[in-house]
Amino acid sequence: MKVHIDSGRCQGHGRCYDLAPDLFGDDDEGYGQVLGDGLVPPGQERAARLAVANCPERAVDLLEET
């Protein structure tokens, strides 16, 4: 699984980096950023799903890799 932020939709609410600080950070204007390559390590799946489900702008996606 991989997380992704649509920067065209992100408005810097910060729910992703509040809820999943190991997967997301912010830039110097508060917009969300995926940390590293976005791969969700074991144990972080729940945090990743919470980040997706709580983004008010629906800017965060979880891509299930096959």
Binding site: Q11, G12, H13, G14, Y17, D18, D26, D28, E29, G30, L50, A53, N54, C55, P56, E57, R58
Partner: protein
Amino acid sequence: MTVDDRFGPAYREPHEDEFPITRNEIITGPVADWATDFSHLEPEWSADPYPIQDDLRQRCPIAHTERFGGGWLPVRYADVAAIAYDTERFSSRAIIMSNVRPPREIAPVGGSPPISSDPPFHHHARKLLLPAFTKAAVGRQEPSTRAFCHTLLDAVDGQDVVDAARDYAQHIPVRVIADMLGFPPEDGPQFREFVEDLLEGINLPTDERIQRVNRLFDYLVRQVDAHLERPRDDLTSYLLSAELGGRKLDPDHVVGTMALLLIAGIDTTWSAIGASLWHLARTPADRERLMAEPGLLPTAMEELLRAYAPVTMARLVTGDMHWRGVDMKADDWVLLSFPAANRDPAQFDRAGEVVIDREVNRHAAFGLGIHRCVGSHLARMELRVALEVWLRRIPVFSLADPDAVTWAAGQIRGPRTLPLRIG
């Protein structure tokens, strides 16, 4: 004294506005039918707007009023979101629904950028502010905010009844924003008057309203003078030295943004803190659960922000159009109720209930789209610290007199009198 030509004598002299404002008849009094005559300034609305919004969502769902020169009130999440995202057809040149419309010529800047701005100017004005309001930047205010919350509770220590709105909630954002702007902390009581003048005095005679707004601007110009004389590491000095496109900001932009930061940061957060304490005072099960599980507070806070979202914005329609079943006219108001959107059952399960451990909560308390509240990280920090300190110091409390609780009228809703019995 440092000379800054932007704020010379010409700026201070009273000058006729280049473009006239549009005034309309002031209509007050009981609402006949909320679907055709709504007013968010009547006591029924401020006491409890949610049953009104729920009823409108069933039978309307976009209400109309002839008051304020004509306006609309959508109550479905989908409609509120669509308007927030559509900055072409819904302008932010006025964001407080009143009996006065500013001239179209003030767009896209508006009177208090960036909240009053439309694209493309909006982006640049907002970009100036964002670095000062990131989670890390506002985190630097946390230790002093926490210490201040303790000081407020020290002052009421031993009392059987504490007014959580007057003695606690209201002072916290006042102090924080005064520190950030570099205004004297002892001026706090004046800020409350400015807030009331701007946000609650909507139906006062227009000339009196303008006079009151001018008091705020006189105060802000005095703060500009003090900062020109002695620049400091604060937001006022930052705005005075900031540039857009290689030029210093227009003086109206500087003062308008100072007004925005002062006003928008105060009764919004004051309302959120007060409404949260009000809920916990009347819901012992939720209060006890938070005491038992302090780690639940961030989740609970989001639910309290959803259920008691303090902020409603407004927009002006840019041109005549048929929109989702209604005929909107140019310059009609739209009351953009994030509180109503947050209680739409089409968007939220158990929308009318406070579910203190709600995990999926895509609420719109801080708005949607390009005007997302610039201070949302600051507000969340203040709300969390205020609740943490209160719950630690005063774990047991209840409403001393439910009928004595009063709520602010207008677009920002929260308790203004909140007597709580301690213990």
